[in-house]
């Protein structure tokens, strides 16, 4: 073994047999994984109480590498499985790792209904604008006119603004960041983990090998530079003229409100029903 300095993330990875990972060089997924682990470590959460659930796709391969309770499910269904876990054991912290295709195409229905219920799931949506695992097909967040293997003449569809979608559906914590802004990402994740309610974090991320190559984005370092140069923090939006905001990635916590959480609502329903039963009996 090479002499690698022990970092906090190593304590949270599964050492037995699950490496090397499946991600390509330059992929943002590892950056996101690191940020999640550091956010969890900073809160001193007990790893026995963390369940990481995912669907299908590149990002959804994440749970197998981490030493939590982990559940790698069906394409699009991670939020539905997570709902079952969380409702039966509300004391567990349930984190959902998903991608743009998994969460907003095949899984769109589960996303909006979990947001509506305000069930306390932490959904981390790694948005690389493409189906990476199947080789570069168009997703609901592939930008208009971008090239994908199923949009060889350019994508004629408009793309989803996933944060607006989540806000519209009722999510009580919604944030966006990019793979370049690691410390910001870590802070947002920490805030989300402490937020009592449905939380969605969109991490705009780089798929240099497929999306980048198809759309001539200039490789992983260039894509990271683009995230730096083409994004603005939410706080700055009001201070800038509209033309400087147009087309930029807006970063920050876009929605944070406290409203009744679903498991808590259910617990109080149970109490109410039990009291009524006791009165009757």
């Amino acid at each position: 073994m090479a002499n690698i300095p022990q970092r906090i993330i190593h304590e949270y990875l599964r050492h037995d047999k699950k490496f090397p990972h499946v991600w390509c060089a330059g992929c943002s997924n590892g950056i996101v994984l690191g940020a999640i682990i550091r956010a969890i470590a900073s809160l001193n959460l007990d790893r026995d109480d963390i369940v990481m659930v995912s669907g299908i796709g590149c990002s959804s391969r994440m749970p197998v590498y981490v030493d939590f309770n982990t559940l790698h499910t069906l394409h699009g269904r991670s939020i539905a499985y997570a709902t079952g876990v969380k409702l039966h054991k509300p004391n567990l912290k349930v984190i959902v790792i998903t991608g743009d295709g998994d969460c907003t195409a095949i899984g769109g229905n589960h996303l909006i209904h979990a947001a509506r219920r305000n069930i306390d799931l932490k959904v981390i949506l790694i948005n690389n604008n493409i189906y990476g695992m199947t080789g570069g097909q168009c997703s609901p967040t592939t930008p208009h006119e971008a090239i994908a293997t199923t949009a060889p003449y350019g994508n004629i569809e408009p793309d989803f603004n996933v944060c607006n979608l989540a806000i519209g559906a009722g999510a009580s914590f919604v944030a966006r960041t990019t793979a370049f802004h690691v410390l910001e990402m870590q802070g947002i994740m920490k805030d989300a983990l402490e937020h009592p309610g449905f939380s969605l974090i969109e991490v705009v991320s780089a798929c240099p090998v497929i999306f980048g190559r198809l759309n001539k984005k200039g490789g992983a370092p260039q894509m990271m530079k683009d995230f730096r140069d083409n994004s603005i923090p939410l706080a700055a939006v009001d201070k800038l003229p509209p033309e400087k905001v147009e087309g930029k990635i807006i970063r920050g916590i876009l929605r944070r409100e406290i409203r009744p959480e679903y498991c808590a609502q259910y617990a109080s329903l149970v109490e109410r029903v039990k009291v009524k039963e006791a009165d009757n009996g």
């Binding site: 197998v64 079952g84 409702l87």
Partner: protein
């Protein structure tokens, strides 16, 4: 859209006065435990069977003719601290009960044909991950939206082969309201014991029919719970090999921190591409059914001792067959019934014995031929003209007279 319309077309079923009735029933069933004869629907029997088996998590989506199961459990589960959740669709329902089961719940969902079709991928996931759960399918006439309030036995093969890829199934099939209660408990027990998704097939008429039943005292209800691991976490294998293929199951939040995936996996649950590990996993799924077939198969043999003609059928059609047998016997015709309570795994041995002893087998079923293929498979002489189908797919039942007529034709 079509499905929604169908549901809206039958508002009477969803607005029946249930609240007060359930409470009286709960008193009868839960408090006194001195169970009297009660008039009960098949769907109600399923709901109370689930509760008596210890089901504490239900996720479902409304669909005729199974909706009463959800309605009753939405009233009863909160009283016992259990979870009822109405999901956004049937796909979410099967996923939620599987997730809950991994967190330690005993979970169940109820649906009908269109929902059952949607659940198939999730059923496969529960099977490959060996996660206990129960899916109740109150069958209705198909294909597609079909005739939502009419009976059919069209999902017999789907219950076995519906999910993609090879996977053995456990499927139970009651013929009465009382048996719906009993087989619901058995379905939950088998799910826990064999760590798989067990399917309970009801006929629409059994789901909605009311019969007088006397449910057993709780003292006489045998409830099986999953085996919990006793080893320290670092020794735990999520899919432990042992002789009977019945392995302990940890739950999330208990310190075991295991991995579950729908990918082909090794005994720890980690994905694998090794063909040796893949075949090990597939063999494990097969053997846990094959090696325990005596425990799984249940049949009823009715007046078969001296029978020259046998009727082989399940569910409501077996009730018609029994009536036909009584009439035929009154005329001196020696006819009996072999009825599977477990349709998958198929009762091969009992059917072989039947085929040795009788001259003719009549297979009435509410489909275009599903059970009959299994009898054909076990018939040595493939040209045998003594295998007689009665098939109906128009929303009507096969009546005792239909069967009697055929008995007389062949006797």
């Amino acid at each position: 859209m079509l499905k929604k319309n169908t549901k809206k077309a039958e508002p009477k079923k969803t607005t029946k006065p249930k609240a007060t009735k359930n409470e009286t029933k709960l008193d009868e069933l839960q408090s006194t435990r001195e169970r009297k004869n009660v008039l009960m629907q098949g769907n109600e029997a399923v709901a109370y069977g689930a509760l008596d088996a210890g089901v504490n998590f239900f996720a479902g989506y409304p669909i005729t003719p199974s909706t009463e199961v959800a309605e009753i459990l939405s009233a009863e589960l909160p009283k016992r601290g259990g979870v009822f959740v109405q999901m956004e669709d049937e796909i979410a329902s099967i996923c939620a009960i599987t997730g809950a089961s991994l967190a330690g719940a005993k979970s169940l969902t109820a649906t009908s044909g269109p929902g059952f079709s949607l659940m198939q991928e999730g059923i496969g996931f529960a099977k490959i991950t060996e996660t206990p759960c129960v899916v109740v399918n109150v069958q209705r006439m198909g294909p597609s939206t079909g005739m939502p309030t009419s009976p059919a036995q069209g999902d017999i093969m789907q219950a076995k082969w519906g999910s993609h890829g090879d996977s053995p199934s456990i499927v139970l099939y009651p013929d009465s309201v009382k048996e719906s209660y009993e087989l619901t408990i058995r379905a939950v027990n088998l799910a826990e014991k064999y760590r798989t998704c067990v399917i309970l097939l009801l006929d629409e008429v059994i789901g909605h029919m009311r019969e007088a039943v006397r449910l057993p005292d709780m003292a006489n209800v045998r409830v099986i719970n999953r085996i919990k691991p006793t080893v320290p976490p670092h020794w735990y294998k999520h899919y432990d090999e042992n002789q009977k293929y019945l392995s302990p199951l940890a739950s999330y939040g208990e310190g075991y921190r295991f991995h579950v995936t729908g990918l082909t996996h090794d005994s720890h649950g980690f994905p694998t591409n090794k063909s040796s590990e893949a075949s090990e996993m597939m063999e494990r799924l097969r053997k846990k059914i094959d090696y325990n077939i005596r425990d799984l198969v249940q049949i009823e043999s009715h007046q078969m001792e001296d029978a020259k003609i046998a009727i082989f059928t399940a569910g409501i059609t077996a009730r018609a067959a029994k009536a036909a047998i009584a009439m035929a016997r009154a005329e001196g015709i020696k006819v009996g019934l072999l009825r599977p309570l477990t349709i998958w795994p198929f009762p091969d041995d009992a059917v072989r014995k039947m085929l040795r002893n009788v001259e003719t087998v009549i297979v009435p079923e509410l489909n275009q031929g599903q059970l009959i293929h299994e009898i054909q498979r076990l018939t040595k002489d493939k040209s045998d003209g003594n295998l007689i189908p009665i098939q109906r797919v128009n929303g009507q039942l096969i009546t005792p007279n239909d069967i009697l007529r055929k008995i007389k034709e062949v006797s």
